[in-house]
């Protein structure tokens, strides 16, 4: 199977795990989508470093775009890539983050160190965020 195919299957699997198997229903929660949008921004930055410098290189047969060139950086945006990384990496990252949070929340629900719950932010942060 190609990376493209595996990544799509992976996304479908984690969606099924979240909604029907573990029933954590993260994908229906605001807290997930807000934190995921923060994560995805930093994923683009760090993955951009890993792929832009060619620390990790991809085979064109496995992805929508073409192979990582031998002595230059891959396309920044285009050729199936976003910030140097194959767009498949976004799906891979989604699988990694969602699977992690499914297990984290599922364990909490089972009573495995549900406490201490997170928060509240320190006063300095509240002031910074404009929360009273």
């Amino acid at each position: 199977m190609t990376y493209t195919q595996l990544a799509i299957i992976g996304v479908l699997v984690v969606i099924a795990l979240d909604l029907f198997v573990f029933k954590t229903k993260l994908l229906k929660r605001k807290v997930f989508w807000v934190s995921y949008s923060i994560v995805i921004f930093f994923q683009l930055v760090t993955n951009g470093i890993l792929t832009g410098f060619g620390i990790v290189e991809y085979d064109g047969d496995a992805i929508i775009g073409s192979s990582t060139p031998k002595d230059s950086a891959p396309t920044f945006i285009g050729d199936g890539r976003l910030v140097f990384a194959p767009i498949e990496d976004l799906l891979f990252g989604f699988c990694l983050v969602v699977l992690t949070l499914i297990i984290w929340i599922w364990l909490g629900r089972k009573g495995v160190q549900r406490e201490p719950m997170s928060g509240p932010p320190r006063k300095s942060v509240n002031r910074f965020l404009g929360i009273k």
Binding site: L6, K25, L26, K30, V31, I55, Y58, I63, V97, L101
Partner: protein
């Protein structure tokens, strides 16, 4: 750039998120058992994916930028650590948003 390049990126991720534990009181590192029990299965699942991808040649690692230490199935140590570090960062981000906004996350005590 050196053989520690990949590890440096991971270290940057850990440093970049560490402040959340203190300032947003995410209490993620403090819930060590839950954290370990979360990360362990994730590492196993993604190591399997990684092993397949490496075997099929989906991706390769530039030997100049990784430690050169390999674990099972030709997976570089750097990659295994990626599957440890990124989940920790994800949980920290999630718990930080929850701390700041008090939104329901699904593991609250049911009445």
């Amino acid at each position: 750039m050196s053989k520690y390049a990949y590890l440096s990126v991971l270290l940057g991720c850990l440093i970049g998120t560490a402040w959340l534990e203190y300032f947003l009181r995410t209490k993620v590192y403090r819930r060590t058992i839950r954290l370990v029990l979360t990360v362990l299965p994730v590492v196993i699942v993604f190591a399997i994916w990684d092993a397949y991808a490496i075997a099929q040649g989906h991706w390769t690692f530039d030997s100049r930028y990784v430690t050169g230490i390999t674990t099972v199935a030709n997976i570089p140590l750097d990659e295994i650590l990626f599957f440890v570090v990124i989940p920790i960062c994800a949980i920290l981000s999630f718990e930080a948003v929850r701390s700041a906004r008090n939104w329901e996350a699904g593991d609250e005590e049911t009445k």
